[in-house]
């Protein structure tokens, strides 16, 4: 019995480490993209330490890169961060942490730690998956960010290396796995069209926020229709 549990635990740790290492390495691209967007190395590292949720970080520097105000960037980051709230709702009964442990665990609540935790049949398995994945990514993501940021600053004009084009590719790679349903594909196309439609009339950073309205509208309309 206890051997079975140990075996299971070892497998969860192994899987979680693999996901952690693969994800943590993305930090290099974030660091490079962020300094290419005009942030300095310290600001870039602060984002990875404090915000610590990849899509939000890419969004913030992406909005700043396209000429938006830092606060428009922060607002976009927060909107993308709302999905972590839903992850938390799903994980709370499973992890069942309280007090200081919950306060610490909250910082590690991201896509990958959720994915490596929700499928477990035991509380211990869920906690091990969550902590191993979250902690591995936190350490590697921040180290990789620093490496990417220093490299990004050292190479000179980011456009010569196509790094400005890498931002769009990063967003697309984050979006790609979500395009698995017709509704998601429709929302993606509409949101892109709306954002580009308002570009000539608004300051940078605003089109992306306006596009969030597409999600709001589509959500309200499709849920009502089902009743």
């Amino acid at each position: 019995m206890s051997e079975e549990v140990t075996e299971d635990r070892r497998a969860i740790v192994g899987d979680s480490l693999a996901v952690g290492v693969a994800t943590g390495a993305y930090g290099i691209s974030f660091g490079a993209v962020s300094t290419a967007s005009g942030l300095d190395v310290l600001q870039t590292c602060a984002l990875s330490l404090l915000v610590f949720t990849g899509a939000s970080q890419f969004a913030m520097v992406g909005v700043i890169a396209s000429g938006g105000t830092p606060f428009a960037g922060a607002l976009t980051a927060l909107l993308l961060g709302t999905r972590n709230t839903l992850y938390g709702l799903r994980l709370a009964p499973l992890l069942a942490w309280t007090g200081g442990r919950r306060l610490a665990a909250a910082h590690l609540l991201i896509d990958e730690s959720t994915a490596m935790s929700v499928g477990r049949s035991t509380r211990e398995g869920a906690r091990v998956g969550f902590l191993t994945t979250g902690a591995t990514i936190f350490v590697l993501w921040n180290l990789a960010t620093a490496v990417g940021a220093l490299a990004g600053e050292a190479i000179g004009d980011p456009r010569d290396y196509g790094l400005d084009a890498a931002v769009g590719a990063a967003f697309l790679a984050l979006l790609w796995p979500r395009l698995d349903r017709p509704l998601h594909r429709a929302v993606a196309v509409l949101a892109a069209a709306v954002a580009l439609g308002v570009v000539p009339f608004t300051t940078a950073g605003v089109p992306v926020l306006v596009a969030a309205g597409v999600a709001l509208l589509a959500g309200v309309l499709t849920v009502r229709r089902k009743r």
């Binding site: 600001q43 610590f52 922060a74 972590n84 769009g168 954002a195």
Partner: protein
Amino acid sequence: MTWAAILVAGAGCYLLKLTGLSVPPRVLEQPVVARVADLIPVALLSALVAVQVVATDDGGLALDARLLALTAAVVMLVLRAPFLVVVFGAALVAALARLLG
């Protein structure tokens, strides 16, 4: 101002995470809220792709090396290339296009 925005984003994103772990599920688990929250990343990421690839700094739209890079990214994603390959592959395509163009 950038530093203030970084602190706001950091504090806000942390509170969003903590709220999920702390609030009783029923408060937020309405079908409409769940659906909208599911769709927001799709809409925002798609809009970010679009703006990043065809919008210019002066508020116009332009089809240039960035679109070529995005096309390359699509091909790499269809071929299931890893994240880092897609991101730096797209950069390479844009850099080459500018060098040749």
